[in-house]
């Protein structure tokens, strides 16, 4: 029997039809090279602060190794409710409106599976985080990308959202501060998006995992906007703010009815988030604030270094106000994002991620993560400068 045919029968159409993440193919290339400086990561370069790790170790010593409630540890939900109240003056009931998940990734999956019927459409910015479109498809929905441009600082615009709303549109999924662009939406921009969503009865899934990493601007949490809370699923996590990516702890905050539905999926598929991670998250909320402030200041310094460096080289880079990514245009070279990333890696041993991995509107850009030690950023910039000089369009 023909092997392609066998594979097709083996794997469900929905999964077979997904294209693998554009990021994956760089793994193989990277493995064969030495002396690579990677600006291709999507996580902090800080190790989790010791007081958090120490608390997790202590919890193991005391024997906290069993399941927790499906919703997550009650103390953690209580602290989380406090945290959201302090940061954004928003109220969520720890009993029934907060759910601790295995990273924001699981929370996103739960949100989509809880609200989508087959064929429901979900509007999302293009470019956006690699998983959005795939998760919508896996949940039976149809992703509807809305192009964003560098001229608008990669902010999704209310009018563009409205023009794509049809009878099947169920939700708007967005993540600001944004991966890969570093874009942040202002309060007025969010307010007009909120108006459109309310007018058309859309559920807004707001992925705010980078909320704490904003620079010289204040983060506005979507559900804080007047009238937004009732139709909003807020997703957040500990990975970026507290340098806890490997612990896999995130959360969802939503009105009771939606959260109950998400919890139903969570209890059958995941049961609960890892207990040791939840204990670490609890310590992070109780005592991690100083670490967050120190890390944000550190990122801000490197952000300025990276953005100035890229602009000086001739890779036009608007100022990203959040997350830890710079998203420069590579138009000066005339290369595609893929070519640029591959050649840069092979010729100068610097890894960046092609913008096209995040959607068609990311073409012509590359993502450079500045969560990297200052000397490495400086060396990477020197190498990129050499590369751009060689490949500059005549």
């Amino acid at each position: 029997m023909d092997s392609t045919r066998t594979r097709k029968q083996l794997i469900a159409d929905r999964v077979a039809g997904l294209s693998p993440s554009g990021i994956r193919k760089f793994f193989d290339l990277l493995a064969s090279l030495e002396g690579v400086i990677s600006l291709g990561v999507g996580e902090p370069d800080f190790v989790t602060p010791w007081r958090i790790r120490e608390a997790a170790i202590y919890s193991l010593e005391r024997g906290y190794t069993s399941y927790t409630s499906n919703y997550g540890l009650p103390e953690l939900r209580k602290e989380l409710a406090n945290y959201l109240r302090c940061l954004y003056s928003i109220e969520y009931d720890p009993q029934g409106e907060l759910l601790i998940t295995v990273g924001v990734s699981e929370a996103l999956d739960l949100a989509l599976r809880a609200i989508l019927n087959p064929g429901d459409e979900v509007i999302m910015p293009d470019p956006c985080y690699v998983a959005y479109s795939a998760c919508v498809t896996l949940a039976g929905g149809t992703p509807v990308p809305v192009p964003t441009t560098v001229e608008n600082g990669f902010a999704i615009r209310a009018a563009d959202i409205e023009s794509r709303i049809g009878v099947r549109t169920k939700a708007l999924l967005m993540g600001y501060p944004a991966n890969p662009t570093g874009a942040v939406l202002t309060r007025p921009e969010l307010a007009s998006i909120c108006d459109v969503a309310t007018k058309h009865g859309l559920i807004v899934i707001s992925d705010e995992v980078y909320a704490r990493l904003v620079y010289d601007i204040e983060h506005t949490s979507f559900p804080c906007l007047p009238g937004a809370r009732e139709n909003c699923i807020l997703l957040g996590g500990f990975s970026k703010a507290f340098a806890m990516t490997g612990w896999r702890i995130g959360y969802a905050a939503a009105p009771r009815e939606i959260l109950e539905a998400m919890t139903k999926v969570h209890q059958y598929t995941m049961l609960c988030a890892p207990t040791v991670g939840q204990m670490a998250a609890l310590e992070a909320l109780r005592s991690g604030e100083n670490d967050v402030v120190a890390m944000v200041e550190d990122y801000n310094q490197r952000r300025r270094l990276m953005v100035k460096g890229l602009n000086d080289i001739g890779l036009a880079c608007y100022e990203p106000k959040g997350a830890f990514y710079a998203f420069p245009s590579i138009a000066a070279t005339g290369l595609t994002s893929d070519q640029f990333a591959e050649k840069l890696l092979n010729e100068e041993r610097v890894a960046v991620v092609p913008g096209s991995a995040f959607g068609s509107c990311g073409e012509g850009f590359v993502r450079c993560c500045y969560a990297t030690a200052v000397p490495d950023i400086e060396e990477a910039l020197r190498r990129i400068e050499r590369f751009v000089k060689r490949h500059r369009m005549p």
Partner: protein
């Protein structure tokens, strides 16, 4: 005075005014002014390098000496502290609370030198009631730097 500039310098004394300006978002002229003012007003005392001498097999001896002293009328502990900190062997001198009064950090070429310093210079001083000498056996962390076993990054080179 812009503390952000000083904080970066405290970690990296080699940072140039241009680098400092980019990293802190402050104009170069203001960075230079801040540094000059800080040096003038002795907010910046010195630019130093943290060196792991043990890696070179350089056996320098360090000791922490507890010194119990009698405060003097009018000047308290200060006059005697000054007599002690003027010795070049005394790297750091602190007045501390607790069972003794001065903590004196001493560096020397050998244990013998430290012993000499304590017995011939420090102990005979008028007002010194007694000393306890602790020799440093191993340095784990110096000025916020972990000497060995510093945590390495285990990050994947590319991640979403």
């Amino acid at each position: 005075m812009n503390e952000k500039i000083l904080k970066v310098l405290e970690q990296n004394a080699k940072a140039t005014p241009l680098q400092l300006a980019t990293m802190t978002g402050v104009p170069v002229s203001e960075v230079k002014e801040t540094i000059e003012q800080a040096e003038r007003e002795r907010v910046i005392l010195r630019y130093k390098t943290v060196i792991n001498w043990e890696k070179l097999g350089n056996e320098r001896v360090m000791a922490l000496i507890e010194v119990k002293i009698t405060p003097q009328r009018g000047v308290g502990f200060d006059a005697l502290a000054e007599r002690i900190y003027r010795f070049a062997e005394a790297r750091s001198v602190y007045l501390v609370s607790g069972t003794y009064d001065l903590a004196v950090l001493v560096t020397a070429g050998s244990m013998h030198e430290v012993a000499n310093f304590v017995s011939q210079k420090l102990s005979p001083l008028e007002g010194v009631q007694g000393t306890v000498t602790h020799f440093l056996l191993k340095r784990y962390k110096e000025d916020g730097e972990i000497l060995d076993g510093k945590e390495e990054s285990h990050r994947l080179a590319v991640a979403p």
